[in-house]
Structures are given as structure tokens and as C-alpha cells.
Symmetry: C2
Subunit: 437 residues, 2 copies
């Protein structure tokens, strides 16, 4: 028979079991953190009506979207490319059945048809939270505490959450008479970390902004200092516009409340250069770096929006949320050598096979271990004990239980520690006690 070469398309992450265990643990940690803050799960179909996915977005999204082709060639359905549009559709559709403010988390794969580049995935997990139906900026201050808690629990407490408020920059641009170009300016300004000041200045001038205004914009986004200093500098600009004043007041409230939420000072800062490319954010915006690995780039970002679901409902639904792109994060951490695959093991105990005559004892030993919550498996193949040890070793199973003639007669087992090589004969109850502690 002609064989088909087994392979997967590029841009898809597929892991060996030992890495999958670590990945799944990270998913679990994020989930538990979200639940700790009272977020409730939803899950939406991977497939939505194409017209629903394309409302919000321009040609950019249309190129990225993966259509579903049925037998009849229609392209009525597509795979979702994020979890925000499905959330908007969900909330608009089920408005009457939900309780607001609606705190939801959603952790699913999304698909994008972009060209594959190293570290760019066409299928990846997003882990999102959003609070829908409130304009209260205290929630904007709570979100960083969820981010901090999540990364702390993932083993990366040393993060920097950079926070800005779009109203401040937008107000400032109105003040400079550049607000008609604000979308383009935000897009350019957002790249200052990657491209540097000069390139940004050049691009801003390319938009037809006067040299004086370009200088002011660059000075503005480079305002530095601790939270109080940044707030004071902004206040000293004396921009006479309500939008600016509103943004400044919000930013100040958020900065103060974040500490009450328990996020240490060294883990967040106000940073006026954060603008976030996506144009639907209207207030607070966030980006998060791992301070020890800034080269990984933003690991969690988001912001506040005025109206989530305007394309589907007249109900005004303001909200705020963030997203952790777990697939990319895992890939980057793995690349940096920070994923320890041996951390997760499937079984705690392998029950070895010393011959057919002990099979009942073996099965009963495994059953007893499982009854006590200990993951265990029985080796059923007829192989030399050395090969069985090798199996345990390769899978990272820390203990082997051996039942041969002596053990069967004594109604006991030999417990071998794969770590130390030590072997001791004991009752199964003692094995359970030893492993449980």
C-alpha cells in the first residue's frame, strides 16, 4: 500500500505528551486564577456565521479568516479568529438570560490564516477575561491584579504591567489639531519600542504633521517617572480638554486602586507609549512584559471599550478585558528553556509484570493505589524487568511496584524509587502513605 507521509501543516503547535502535560497545567492555572476572581466560563462554537465575524473588521481580517467549505461551495461559515467577536455575539444574543456586570472567562483555540513565520501560529489558544456592562474604572484596576496573580501562579511573578489610557493621548491629539489622524498616529506610536524614536518621527511627519506637533507627541509619549510623577507631568501640561481630563482622572484612580488590589509597585507602571494597535479600545489599555525576558514581547494585553456589541444590538455594552496568548507564550518559554517537561508525570506508579501468575495481584495493587487517588498503571507486556524500568524512566514515572513470588507469599510489594534506585518490601498501605506524603 502506498503510504501517505504523516505530517501537520506549518503554523500549528503539536506537543509530545510530556510537554502537553505542562501546557495543560498552564491552562489549568490560568483557569483557576480567573475563577478566583469570580469569572464564569463560556465556550462558543469554533464556527460562526461569516457575516458575524466580518462586521467589526476591515479587509485585514477578511484575509486572515478561515472559511468553511461545505459540499455546495458556500462560505457561509468560518472559524473564529478571536474570542472577542464571539463574546460580543454571545452577549447580544443572550442578553436577557445573563446577569450584568457579566464576568466571563473563555479559553479556546482561535484560527488565523496569516502566513506562517517563526513563532507565528495559525492555530492558538487565547485565554480571555472580560467584564461586560460596567463603566466603573475600579474594574480597570482589578484586571492587573488578575494578570499579576495568573503570572505569579504560572511561576513568573516578575512581570511589568504597562498601563495607559487612550483618552489622554486622544485628548492630546485633539488639542494638537491632529485628531483626524489619530488612528494612524496611534498605530505608529505603538511601534516606538520596536522601531525607535527616529523612525516613528519620520512616519509621523509622513502623515503631514508639523514638526512642532511631532516633537510634542514624542515628548508626550516619553513622559517618564513613577506613577505620581507621570500624573503630575500630565497635569502640568494643562490640556484644556474634557476628554484629556477624564482620561487623566481615570488613570489616577486606576493607579491608586491597583495597589489596594495587592499588585506590588514594581509590577506595574503608567506608560504613555502604550497605545495598542486595535482601534476598539477607548479607555484604559494594558500590555505586560516578563521583566527577565523582555524579548518575548507582550504576554498579555487588553483594555477598555465603550461598546462591545454595537453591530448586533442597540444595547450599549461597555467593558474591559484582557487576553493571554498561551500558545505563543508556551512556545517562547520553551525556546528560552523555561519549560521543564519532566515536571508533569502521567503515572506516579508503574506496577511491573513479573509473570502471568501475578497478574491478579498486579491489577489489585493498581486498583488499590487508584482508590487512594494515586495515578497508576500496570505493565502488561511480557518483558524483562530492565525494559520495564526503562519504560518508567522514559515516561518519568517515579515509582515501580514489583510483585514476585516472595512478595505474593508475604502479601506485600517491593517499592523501587526510580530516583534513588532504592528498593524496599512493604505492604501496599505503606506504599500509599509514602507516596501521599
Amino acid at each position: 500500500m502506498t503510504k501517505i507521509r504523516p505530517r501537520i501543516p506549518s503554523g500549528f503547535m503539536e506537543l509530545l505528551p510530556q510537554d502537553q502535560i505542562v501546557f495543560n497545567k498552564m491552562l489549568e492555572v490560568i483557569k483557576k486564577t480567573y475563577e478566583l476572581f469570580g469569572f464564569m466560563p463560556i465556550e462558543t462554537p469554533a464556527v460562526e456565521f461569516t457575516e458575524i465575524l466580518l462586521t467589526k473588521s476591515g479587509g485585514e481580517t477578511e484575509k486572515q479568516i478561515w472559511g468553511i467549505q461545505k459540499g455546495d461551495g458556500s462560505r457561509e461559515l468560518s472559524l473564529h479568529f478571536d474570542l472577542t467577536v464571539p463574546l460580543a455575539r454571545y452577549v447580544a444574543q443572550r442578553h436577557e438570560e445573563l446577569t450584568f456586570p457579566f464576568r466571563r472567562y473563555q479559553m479556546q483555540k482561535v484560527w488565523r490564516g496569516e502566513r506562517n513565520q517563526k513563532g507565528r501560529f495559525r492555530e492558538f489558544y487565547q485565554c480571555d477575561i472580560d467584564v461586560i456592562g460596567s463603566t466603573n474604572v475600579l474594574i480597570d484596576a482589578e484586571i492587573p491584579s488578575v494578570i499579576f496573580e495568573a503570572f505569579k501562579n504560572l511561576g513568573f511573578p516578575n512581570i511589568m504591567i504597562r498601563i495607559n489610557n487612550r483618552k489622554i493621548l486622544n485628548g492630546f491629539l485633539v488639542y494638537l489639531n491632529c485628531s483626524d489622524k489619530s488612528k494612524d498616529i496611534l498605530r505608529i506610536v505603538d511601534k516606538i519600542d520596536k522601531q525607535g524614536k527616529e523612525k516613528v518621527a519620520e512616519e509621523l511627519e509622513g502623515l503631514g504633521i508639523t514638526g512642532d506637533s511631532v516633537t510634542k507627541i514624542l515628548d508626550f509619549i516619553e513622559i517618564k517617572g513613577n506613577n505620581e510623577e507621570v500624573i503630575n507631568k500630565l497635569r502640568s501640561l494643562k490640556v484644556p480638554l474634557p476628554l484629556f481630563a477624564e482620561g487623566l482622572a481615570e488613570l489616577e484612580t486606576v493607579a491608586k486602586a491597583i495597589e489596594v488590589f495587592g499588585v506590588p509597585r514594581e509590577n506595574f507602571k503608567l506608560d504613555l507609549s502604550i497605545a495598542r494597535g486595535l482601534d476598539y479600545y477607548t479607555g484604559t489599555v494594558y500590555e505586560t512584559l516578563l521583566k527577565d525576558y523582555p524579548e518575548i514581547g507582550s504576554v498579555c494585553s487588553g483594555g477598555r471599550f465603550d461598546d462591545l456589541a454595537e453591530y448586533y444590538t442597540d444595547k450599549k455594552l461597555p467593558g474591559v478585558g484582557i487576553s493571554i496568548g498561551l500558545t505563543r507564550l508556551f512556545f517562547k518559554l520553551k525556546e528560552a528553556g523555561l519549560i521543564k517537561s519532566k515536571e508533569g508525570v502521567p503515572s506516579k506508579v508503574l506496577v511491573a509484570n513479573m509473570g502471568k501468575e501475578f497478574v491478579n495481584e498486579n491489577i489489585m495493587a493498581a486498583t488499590e493505589l487508584r482508590k487512594n487517588g494515586i495515578n497508576a498503571e500496570v505493565y502488561f507486556e511480557s518483558e524483562k524487568i530492565s525494559k520495564q524500568f526503562k519504560y518508567a524512566d522514559r515516561l518519568g514515572i517515579p515509582f515501580v511496584v514489583i510483585i514476585g513470588e516472595v512478595e505474593a507469599r508475604k502479601k506485600a510489594v517491593t517499592l523501587k524509587s526510580m530516583d534513588t534506585g532504592e528498593q524496599n518490601i512493604m505492604g501496599i498501605d505503606d506504599v500509599i502513605k509514602l507516596i501521599q506524603k
Copy 2:
């Protein structure tokens, strides 16, 4: 602005948060059970090369498959329609990196483009386990103990696992000189529960099988009794064919070992009418019913196969596995009123809002609860306390913590039980102790 009606395609299950919590708990219970038996997780892309998905299958599958349409109109990629074909591809591709016997679990959504009928889903979860790389029938006996444990942990211990061995029926058909029609016969025989004896007899005659053989086939699949009786009746047929003898020996071994694995007698039986439509099973086959709700149909099925990945590799990979179709199961349980949505709550505590001046106390109380592993959220909106109680009530949050002037002065909180309505003033430490027990 013209609104687009928010809706999802038919054949997709989308839940409200309170049901999603229950669904996720079921996924978690199944996962923990699989891990208890030493199965390791893998996850494969939702998208595979179409040619890989179509190897095994005829035109039936081709109609069901959902193709991905990229901008260029190509249909090189498709959504997977089960987890067995991706497993075959995965094992063939990563053979050198895996350790055999390979015990893997995989719990993912799959997609089928079939016409939507009530209770038929076009997107649904499969929760699969397989052991690959072993012909040992003791594993065939272990699988029912995993099924039993999973359903027990899901709260449905009263199951009936029906077990057969395809070699017995196949051997019997060789003996009757009908083996050239065995595929069709198995397909017809598999429907005896749904269609009854007469209809099956009619269809068998339609295949050109003699009346005498039809009678023998029907008598055969209706062999009844306890395990020993079934085995003895089969033995008394004295079918002089190695295939038959082999199947009978396997079935006997499996039946005996299942009890050693701790599955009670009332939860499994040998049933010669179970043939399983899918033609790739070659040995033991399983089907599982909920005894109290037989109308739900099979909730878990599977079997043994000789060669998993023959389309992708020369390596012979025998194995055995089962699948729980969780989406359908959940839907059916919900329909039967067996899903209690109030079981899962997002937050254990709502910290109420008694005015802006207590916001710091509120946030700190919530943080303290979370530090002790208690899911908690703060109510930030300015609403009457009665509306806040209503919010807690609608979400099923069992406790409300209230901090007003008196509490703030005393550095205490009032704890209200939503269940009893009782309110008591106490320290936050006492709230933690009370909720933790």
C-alpha cells in the same frame, strides 16, 4: 447602523455559564479518571491535511468532512471529524519519540458536516483513550474499568458495559460460508436493538443468505445468560475454526479479568449482538448504556484494532480504545433533567458595595479571601443592596460580605448567607474558616 442578528448555526451546542460550569466539571472528571489510569494527554490541531483524513474512509466521510477554504480556493486542509485518525497520524509521525505501549487520552472538539437533526451535533467533544502498541487482551479488560470509574465519578455508576469479540461472529460467519458478506451482516446485526428481530431477518435474507443461516445468525446473536453461560453456549457450538476459538478465548480472558479490575458483575455483560458499525475493530468491542436511561443509547463505545496507522507507516500498531461523546451525553442528560445547573458556582463570596468610602476595605476583603483559595468578587456598581443580593442570588453565589460604617470601625464584616438569610458580624478570618469548612 443596521444590526446583524446575533445567532449561531444549528447543530452547535452553546451553553449559559451555569451549564458551562457543569459541562467543564464533567470534562475535568473524565480527565482525572483517565490520568488515574496513567493515560497521557495529547492534543492535535483541529486542522489536518485533507488527504490524511480521507485515507481510511469512503465517500461517507468525504461528505461529512468540513474543508477549510483559504483565499486561493484550495481545499488542502480540513477539520478533523474524529480523534482516531489524528492519533494514527500522530503515532506514525512521532513513532521514534514515543514510548510504547503508548497510553494516550485526548479530549477535543471534532466537526462533522452532517445534516442537523435533534440531538445530532456538527461540533462535539470526544473524550478518547487508546493504548497503542500492545496485543495484550488484559488491556481489553482494563478499559471497562476505566469506563466504570469515569461514569461512577460523573455520578452515573449504574451503567451496563456490553462486550463482544468480533472474531467470534466473524469466525461464525466463515463457518456459515457467509464471510464475504460479513461487513453487511455486521452492519445489519448491529441494528437489532433499534429495529427488532424481524426487520433484521428480512434484511439478512435480502443479502441472499439462506433461511437456515439467517436463523443460525439470529440464534447466535441472541445467546443470553450470565458470562459463564454465554461462554459455555459458544463453546457448545463447536465451531471448528481457529478465528472463532481465538475470539472465544479472548472473550473469556477479558470477562474474568474485568472483575479483578474491580468492575462489579452487574455493570458488564457479554452480549453477542454488539457488533459496532465501524469496520476497523478486529477483536473486543464495547458499548455502554446507562441502565436507568437506556433511551439515551450508547454513551461510550470502542474496541480493539489490529493496525491503527497502516495508511501512514509500515509499523504495525495494534491497540484498543474507547470514546465518550460528551456533548451528546450532556445534551441527553440535560434533556432528561439530570443536569443540575446550580451545582457549580463561580464565586463563593460577593463583597457588596455600601458606598465609595468602603471601596478599599471591600477590595482588601476580597483579596484576603482569594489568598485563602476562596473564589470572590467585588460588586463595584453603585446599586441598592437589594439589587446586589439579587445579583448574588441569580448567579448562585452563596455568601455576601458587607462592609459599612459599623463594620469598618470594628475592622470586621457582616456575612450574609444567601441560603438562610442569616447575617452575622465577624472578622474576615472567621469568614474564611466558616467557608473553608
